[in-house]
């Protein structure tokens, strides 16, 4: 679970590096759940400087390689303006911004992950 946005302290970087290390060691990551400001990991409109890491893109690449389930909490996302096409339409907004490989869903996905995974590791501030 990632509770803090990218480029804000270190939680997203730590979560990414932990996830990558776990996958490299052959473990299964059942899901990465982005909650609170962590939902900012999932915007496709971020443009970090060229000499900085692009955390959203790092997640996308890792997800593409390992078929990771990257879930953004819907309630946290709506408050912060992170929308997919369906949510944008439902709320009458003129655009959506969810990054490819991320999906918006509910807290039930966190509960399910807590039940099905052997360990739950929380990164935040």
């Amino acid at each position: 679970m990632v509770n803090e946005g990218p480029y804000n302290h270190q939680a997203s970087d730590s979560a990414y590096r932990f996830t990558k290390a776990a996958l490299d060691k052959g473990h299964e990551i059942f899901r990465v759940f982005f909650y609170h400001d962590g939902v900012y990991n999932g915007t496709r409109l971020g443009v970090p400087p060229q000499d900085d890491r692009n955390i959203t893109q790092l997640w996308q690449e890792l997800a593409a390689e390992h078929d990771l389930d990257l879930v953004v909490c819907v309630a946290a996302a709506q408050r912060r303006g992170i929308l997919d096409a369906d949510e944008a339409k439902r709320h009458g907004k003129d655009a959506d911004n969810i990054a490819e490989r991320f999906r918006i869903s509910g807290l039930g996905q966190l509960i399910e992950a807590g039940i099905k995974a052997d360990r739950l590791v929380v990164f935040g501030d």
Binding site: A11, S14, A21, A22, K25, V121, V122, F123, G124
Partner: protein
């Protein structure tokens, strides 16, 4: 098997380490990472407390986060083991559960 506690804030900024040590049971492990690594250094205002706690819990510190802050492994308190991200993963799998002191 026991609980792994993670502390990611400096003991000079937050009370996360104090809360953790106040709750951790004998035989538990504490991983210091991000700004939590400052608690692993010798000669600080909390090093005596950390050394004393080493009699009850095992301490680990994340090496990459030490190096990112210009801190040297040879200045880490005796008895604290330096691990990398692979070691972080192994700590998670070798403990029953993980408590993050955010």
């Amino acid at each position: 098997m026991a609980m792994l506690h993670t502390v990611n804030k400096s003991p000079f900024e937050r009370t996360a380490l104090q809360s953790c040590l106040g709750h951790a049971l004998e035989g538990a492990s504490v991983l210091l990472f991000e700004d939590g690594v400052y608690a692993a250094m010798q000669g600080t205002a909390v090093s005596a407390q950390v050394s004393e706690a080493l009699g009850k819990v095992r301490f680990y510190v994340l090496g990459p986060d030490l190096r990112a802050r210009g801190l040297r492994e040879d200045r880490v308190i005796d008895g604290i083991q330096v691990v990398d991200y692979d070691g972080f993963v192994d700590l998670v799998t070798s403990h029953d559960n993980v408590q993050a002191w955010l």
